[in-house]
Amino acid sequence: MSVAPNHAPPAVAVDPQDPARLRLSGRWTLRYANEVGEALRAAPDGIACVDASAVERIDTLGVLQLLRYADRNKLDFDRFAFRDDQKSLIAAIEDVHDQRPKKQRDHGFHAALGRLGFAVVDNTREVVALVAFLGEVLAKLLRLFKEPRRFRLTATVHHMEQVGLDAAPLVALLSFMVGAVIAFLGAMVLQDFGATIFVVELVSAAFLREFGVLLTAILLAGRTASAFTAQIGMMVNREEVDAIRVLGLDPIDLLVIPRVLALLAMLPLLTFIAMMAGLLGGMAVGAFNLDIPAAAYLARMQEMMETRHFWVGMSKAPVFAMVIALIGCLEGLQTEGTAQSLGERTTSSVVQSISMVIVLDALAALWFMEMDF
C-alpha cells in the first residue's frame, strides 16, 4: 500500500487581504469528520464569503458541514467558491439538502403509556386470534371427513417422525432422571417416618397424573412449537404461503392440519414413554438406594395404584398437543416479512405454549381433585 505523503487535515484561515473572507484547505472528508466540525466552529465571526478552491478533497460530509455552517451564519451558499471539478458534487448535494429538523422521539411518560396501551390491545387481539384459529382448524378438520382427498398423509407422517420419533430418546432420558429425583426427594422426607415404601405411590402418582404429560408437553413446546413457527414463518417471508393461496390450495389444509394431527398422535405416545421412563427412574432408585427390590416395587404399585391415575394424565395429552400445535402454527402465519419478526414470533410461540400448558395443567389438577378422580 502506498500512502500519500500529505495527510492534510482540514484547516480554515482568514484571508490576510480581506478579513471577511475565509480560506479553506486540506481534506474535508468523512475521515476528518471531527476536525471539520472543530475547524468550522473555530472560524471567526463576520465572514461574508468562503474560498474553498484550495480544498484538496471534499466529500458528502464536507459539503454537508459547509451547508450547515452557511445556515448557522446566514450565509448565502453562492458566496462559497469551489474548484471546478468539485462543483458537480456540491450541486448534487445542495439540490437535495434542506433544513428539516430532526424528528424528536418521545421518551416520556406519554410514550410509555401509549406503548402499554398498544401492548394490551395486541395481547387481546392475540387471544381472539388464537380462539378464531382454533375454530377454523376444527372446522377444517371436520371437513376432512367429508372430503378425504384434502388429507395430506405424507406430510402428516413426516411431521410425526420429526415431532415424535426424534424426540423419544430425549423425553425418555429426562423423564427417567426426574423420576429418580422425585424418588430421592420422597425418600428423604419419608425416611424419618419409616415410610420409605410410600415412595412407590409418590413416584407413580406424580408421573401418571402430572409429570409424564407435563414434562412431555413442555419439552415439545420448546422443541416443536418453535420449529413450527420457524418453518411456517420462513414460508410466509418467502411468499410461499401466498403462492399456496393463489394456487387455490388452503394453507390450513397443507401446513397446519398435518402438524396438528402429527402432534395429536405423537404427544400421547410420548407421554406414555415419559410415564414409563419416570416409573423406571423411581424403580431404579428404589432398587439401588432404598432397598425396595424391583419385584416388591411392582407389586406395591399394582396393589395401590388404580388405572384412573393413568387416564387422568393421558386425558390431558391431546389438549396440550392441540395448544402447542395451534400456537406454533398461528405464530408462524402471523410473521411479517422481517428476520426480526420471525425471531419475535418464535420466541413468543415458545413462551405462550409453555405458559398455556402449565396454566391448563394447574386448572385440570384443580378440577380432577374436586371431582375426586
Binding site: 475521515r31 460530509l61 439538502h97
Partner: protein, 275 residues
C-alpha cells in the same frame, strides 16, 4: 484541474495514479467439476461505467463476488484500488471494503432496521465518533441523493416497493462516499420507467461523485444508455471489452444473438431516437 484531481479519492490516502481501479488476471473459478471461469482478464478504468453482460450461468455474479472477496478464486490475481484483493491481511481487506459500495440484486437491506438505520450502519462501523445528529443528516442526504423521499427514512424495507428498496440499497452503498461502486442487476425487476429513471440516477451520481462503476446487467437499455464500455463473458472468459457500438459488430454467436435479437434492436433504436 489541479494535480490532485487525477488521483482517485480513496480516503485512506492511497494514490493509484492512472492504473485501473480493478484489474483481474487469469481468474479461474471452479465449482466441483464445473469450470465457470478459465482465465478471465478484465480491467476497470477510473471514472468509467463498465457493464458486464453474459448469458445465465456465465459467472457474472461469481466474478463480482471474487473481486469483493466473498469467494476465493481457484487461481488468478485480482487487484482492487491498487492493493491485492486476494490478500488475507485484514487491513488490506478493510481498505477495499471501506472504499467500495455494493448494491446486491434484491438490495440486501437489513430487514429489521429502518432505511435510515440501514444507511447509518457503515457510518457507525467505520466512524463511531461521528455525532448522532450529523450521522442522521448524512443518511438523510444519501437517501435523497438516491431519489427517495425523506419520509422513507423511518420505513422498514418490507414497507417499500422493489424499486424503492433498490434506491435504499444504493443509498447504503454510497454512505461512505466510496470511489468504487458495484451494482448487481440494478434494474432487474423494475418497470421500464423505473428502470430508465434508475439508469439516469446512476449516471448522475457517477458524474457528481466521480464514481467508478462495475455494473452487472441483462438490461440492454442500461447498456446503451449509461455504460462507457461493456465486457462480455462467454466461453468461461471475457471475450471482448468495448463500447457497446463496437460490440454489435463482433463475430460471436452469443453476442450476435444478444445485440441483434429483437430486444437488442429495440434498445438500439430507442437510443438513436433520443440522440
Amino acid at each position: 484541474m489541479t494535480a490532485n484531481a487525477g488521483a482517485t479519492r480513496t480516503l485512506d490516502g492511497v494514490v493509484i495514479g492512472d492504473a485501473p481501479l480493478i484489474s483481474v488476471r487469469g481468474l479461474v473459478n471452479r465449482f466441483g467439476e464445473q469450470l465457470v471461469h478459465d482465465g478471465v482478464d478484465l480491467d476497470v478504468r477510473r471514472g468509467e461505467i463498465l457493464g458486464v453482460v453474459g448469458g445465465s450461468g456465465t459467472g457474472k455474479s461469481v466474478l463480482m463476488r471474487s473481486i469483493l472477496g466473498l469467494r476465493r478464486p481457484d487461481a488468478g490475481r485480482i487487484r482492487v484500488l491498487g492493493v491485492d484483493a486476494m490478500a488475507e491481511d485484514p487491513v488490506t481487506r478493510r481498505h477495499i471494503d471501506r472504499n467500495s459500495g455494493v448494491l446486491f440484486q434484491d438490495g440486501a437491506l437489513f430487514s429489521s432496521l429502518t432505511v435510515g438505520e440501514n444507511v447509518q450502519v457503515p457510518l457507525k462501523e467505520y466512524y463511531p465518533d461521528l455525532p448522532d445528529s450529523l450521522r442522521y443528516e448524512l443518511a438523510l442526504l444519501k437517501i435523497k441523493l438516491a431519489g427517495l423521499p425523506a419520509d422513507a427514512l423511518d420505513k422498514l424495507p418490507s414497507q417499500l416497493s422493489g424499486g424503492m428498496r433498490k434506491r435504499a440499497g444504493l443509498a447504503r452503498a454510497l454512505s461512505l462516499d466510496p470511489p468504487l461502486l458495484f451494482l448487481d442487476e440494478p434494474t432487474a425487476g423494475l418497470d421500464p420507467i423505473g428502470a430508465a429513471a434508475f439508469d439516469s440516477l446512476i449516471r448522475t451520481l457517477q458524474q457528481a461523485l466521480g464514481l467508478t462503476v462495475f455494473l452487472i446487467t441483462h438490461d440492454l437499455d442500461t447498456l446503451y444508455a449509461i455504460c462507457d464500455r461493456v465486457a462480455v463473458l462467454a466461453d468461461r472468459k471475457v471475450i471482448a471489452v468495448a463500447p457497446v457500438a463496437e460490440l454489435e459488430t463482433l463475430d460471436h454467436p452469443w453476442v450476435q444473438d444478444y445485440f441483434n435479437g429483437p430486444r437488442g434492436r429495440a434498445a438500439r433504436d430507442a437510443m438513436q431516437e433520443t440522440d
